[in-house]
Symmetry: C2
Subunit: 268 residues, 2 copies
């Protein structure tokens, strides 16, 4: 049986270069370095764009929490998948960075309100960062700011951009809300991120669908592995099944550069 390694397992975020190497690094150091470099370079581009877009400005009482709550949550794989998917279908990274930044902001808004629900639970013992009213209003401000960033970028053609707005709005809105209530809110964005990247990179309808399903499997695997309950053996089996299904979706892109995106469900 092939061993399963998921570099992002149990973390739900792309490790930054300064973070300690993942547990499997000692056994496959070269591959890990390559993988991290790819995902790191994507996140570095997203971060640069976000930092340019969200300066700390007057009034500081509003923008300081916004800045903090945008950059402190774990980095979402969905945003990185957006850039990687764009590159697979032949697009330039620059075409996807704005949408990836918007997805990062959606994730941050969701994360902020999830945290609010946790801290507001009686006896939770989890401290508020800023007070519940500030966390509520800041989350409310971050989400539309993501849409503003996206629709106001003037980058991609308008048709594609509207499709991306719909894709993201669906993931975080009505449908996403239903998923969110089922307890795994942060996982709803992975399929969306991959689909947005494929749209912006000029993928065909079939490519967009395949990439979306790939992203959904990535999200399912990560959700499974970050879930503390259940038996380890059962989880590995299910994760392997989903990994195989994810890789099947990528087979459709034969001849294109799928090596790097496939490392997100890396098999050694």
């Amino acid at each position: 049986m092939t061993a399963l390694h998921l570099p992002l397992a149990r973390t739900n975020f792309i490790r930054s270069s300064s973070a300690p190497p993942p547990p499997s690094a000692s056994t496959t150091p070269v591959t890990v370095t390559q993988n991290l470099s790819y995902w790191d370079s994507i996140y570095s581009d997203i971060n640069s764009h976000l930092k340019k877009s969200i300066p700390i400005r007057h009034p500081v009482s509003v923008f300081e929490p916004m800045h903090h709550l945008t950059f402190s949550p774990p980095k979402p794989t969905a945003a990185a998948l957006c850039v990687a998917a764009c590159e697979v279908v032949g697009g330039d990274r620059a075409d996807a960075v704005v949408a990836a930044s918007a997805i990062h902001l959606m994730h941050a808004a969701i994360y902020t309100h999830d945290h609010l629900l946790l801290t507001d639970r009686p006896g939770s013992g989890i401290p508020h960062r800023f007070g519940s009213n500030v966390e509520l209003l800041t989350g409310d401000g971050i989400m539309p700011f993501g849409f503003e960033l996206l629709a106001g970028s003037g980058g991609a053609d308008s048709e594609k951009m509207l499709k991306v707005v719909v894709e993201i709005a669906q993931a975080v809105g009505g449908k996403g809300m239903v998923d969110g209530w089922s307890g795994r809110p942060s996982r709803r964005l992975d399929g969306c991120g991959a689909a947005c990247g494929a749209i912006l990179g000029g993928g065909s309808v079939e490519e967009i669908d395949r990439m979306k399903r790939f992203g959904v499997y990535v999200g399912k695997i990560q959700g499974l592995l970050s879930d503390e309950s259940g038996s380890e053996g059962g989880k590995v089996e299910l994760a392997e099944k989903w990994r195989d299904l994810a890789l099947e979706e990528l087979e459709y892109f034969e001849g294109k550069k799928i090596e790097q995106i496939s490392t997100i469900v890396r098999v050694t």
Copy 2:
């Protein structure tokens, strides 16, 4: 001095036909009936569109609160202004109804979270409708649903639609958040609504700017008159000043049908 009548004063919403007539109705019955019919007909179109767009579907635990929290808040003038502004610049009502519906949803999301802040205040005595977690998540779902409705409508041309997305996102996002913190969140949408209508109706840059400023004055007047504090005399004077400035913006549209939209700051 011209007497000042503001049909929407102290209500922040368009009265429905079944509601009692406004206090000034007895003195100017004919005008009032006409005015209400115009705004009523707009809101009837917006409501129809919203009802088609938000069916109660499975899971009811999610969509029932969404339905309730969408339709129970007072109807925002911003949504009606969107349709009226579109008609002034020569557009068809149908071009603006989707955007007006999206603005209604933004207002509902803001209203829901404002209500949450009030009810969560210790000793407020105001009951939650659904429990704070449901109100939080439902507000979070309603806002992106508005963007989905807008971007997915396929109605207006894509360029215009992206401009409207930006306009609305700015009003409810970063900038709107700053205004919201200053205590009058529901007023931030009026200028946005008027601007969106002018964009969708095919208005020029100057027409869009003028219409936006008109909407901002409408919002300021209504905010002033719904504010319980301050002296009545001072308020009337200030409201009259803003009304005159609002009407000055409309003068730019000479020769176009401004009678109906001007009734929102009605002068008899």
